[in-house]
């Protein structure tokens, strides 16, 4: 017979950890400074003790937001063929696809290469800026949840690879000139990857729930 001691309240605040991926119960975790705790059964990272990631993430998120406007409105590349030239930005390309009635392709492309990344960056900026400025509002909680849930639907890096493949395909039939939008898109990709990888979500949750419990305990 095994005995598990749990707290009295509904939310268990004692030193019990559950693994996300295999539900293993781990008790009495010694809190260590600046380390990661890994699940012994499946290898999932249970907890990261990494501090001061929020302001770094905010800086990268702001950089990415600045790059966003030129990345989607400036031409990504210019095509020259038989003396005619044509250039396309991300937004005007999506509009053309819509006019040609490729609804699924157009919407899928526009969502995953533009709208979802933009929305995630806005949410991230809102959450990290609020924590930095010590501001609290209920909407911060669902904002950060939404940020996390949309993670796999933002595909900036896949789109970047798509641009490269498209250029190679076109090289045989036309002259290709990279536009300003391409460099802006690359910068957007880099800074948004940095903004999400540098961030420790556990630190954000600790900060958010800490502020929330001042208003109503959970």
């Amino acid at each position: 017979m095994q005995v598990v001691v749990i707290g009295r309240s509904q939310v268990i605040n004692s030193r019990i950890l559950l693994c996300h991926e295999c539900d293993l119960l781990i008790e009495n975790q010694d809190v260590c400074e600046a380390c990661k705790v890994q699940c012994p059964r499946c290898g999932h990272i249970l907890y990261k003790q990494k501090h001061n990631t929020i302001s770094h993430s905010l800086a990268y998120a702001l950089t990415a937001l600045i790059c966003f406007y030129p990345a989607v409105t400036q031409p990504i590349m210019t095509l020259e063929m038989s003396g005619l030239s044509q250039q396309q930005s991300l937004i005007s390309g999506s509009l053309i696809l819509l006019q040609e009635k490729y609804y699924v392709v157009a919407i899928l492309t526009f969502l995953s290469s533009c709208l979802v990344p933009l929305f995630r960056l806005l949410l991230l900026t809102y959450v990290t800026l609020s924590i930095t400025l010590n501001y609290y509002h209920k909407s911060l909680i669902w904002s950060f949840r939404l940020f996390h849930e949309m993670e796999e639907w933002g595909m900036l890096e896949v789109y970047m690879l798509g641009i490269i493949v498209a250029v190679v395909k076109l090289l045989s039939m036309a002259e290709i000139q990279p536009g300003f939008g391409l460099w802006a898109y690359a910068a957007l990709l880099l800074s948004s990857i940095l903004a999400t990888t540098v961030l420790n979500p556990h630190e954000v949750w600790d900060a958010l729930l800490d502020r929330k419990t001042r208003e109503e305990p959970c």
């Binding site: 939310v11 890994q38 012994p40 003790q49 396309q88 040609e100 490729y102 699924v104």
Partner: protein, 229 residues
């Protein structure tokens, strides 16, 4: 700045949160006492609490089967048409790869082949294998299965590559009479396949991989901490 990774020792007797009557909030990582037969919400962040994702296996099967059906038109129908000086040149997914090979860009041909042929196939077969292995107790270790699943989850989004390439080409190459690239019906089918396989992977609950051999494990007693005062 590499931080140290600590792996606690695996306890002799393994208990899961479900067996201990607990439920983890997958959003904010708080652990709650599970209330059976009730719709429970996380008191901290408001997310729905489930010990296991509801209907996980059925939902995964549904998305998987739908994606397999659409995979057929996605590969047999025309995905892209290149009209070059009036001559049409329609191609399928494999046709596009072969064309790239003929152009001599082997590296790009390989990337496209991996992203749009191998990845969706591997993903669908992999998820099916995991679902079958749960049902028929196929001889695979838990570690192998979780590694496979994590890999499947990671690579899935890259098959969107071909959709992006087509949408860039179709939008950019639009010089009437000289060169015009248009998307075909397979593009819609293939885009839907990618979305469906991503939904299949995200509706699967990895915790089920460990549950199946522990059905009769009830030897746990819950004990409450004495009150603080």
């Amino acid at each position: 700045m590499a931080s140290k990774t600590i792996t606690p020792t695996l306890p002799d007797k393994i208990i899961t949160g479900k067996e201990a009557g607990l439920v983890l909030c997958t959003e904010c990582h708080k652990v709650h006492r599970y209330i059976p037969d009730a719709e429970q919400e996380c008191k901290c962040c408001g997310a729905d609490l489930h010990q296991r994702k509801p209907d996980s296996i059925n939902r995964t099967w549904a998305f998987l089967i739908a994606s397999m059906i659409l995979y057929i038109p996605a590969n047999t129908m025309m995905i892209m048409n290149v009209a070059y000086f009036g001559a049409d040149e329609p191609s399928t997914i494999m046709g596009g790869v072969i064309l790239l090979l003929q152009m001599g860009s082997h590296a790009v041909a390989f990337v496209v082949f991996v992203a749009s042929v191998l990845v969706p196939l591997f993903k669908m077969i992999g998820i099916m294998l995991i679902l079958f292995s749960l049902k028929y107790k196929v001889n695979m270790t838990d570690r192998q299965r979780i590694k496979m699943f994590r890999f499947i989850e990671f690579i899935g989004r890259w098959s969107m590559l071909d959709i992006f390439v087509i949408s860039i080409l179709a939008a950019l190459v639009h010089i009437t009479g000289v060169a015009e690239i248009t998307a075909g019906p397979a593009a819609t089918a293939f885009g839907t396949v990618v979305v469906l396989t991503m939904l299949a992977a995200s509706s699967f609950d990895t915790r089920l991989l460990w549950d199946y051999k522990r059905k009769n494990y009830k030897n746990i007693e819950l004990k409450q901490e004495p009150a603080a005062d």
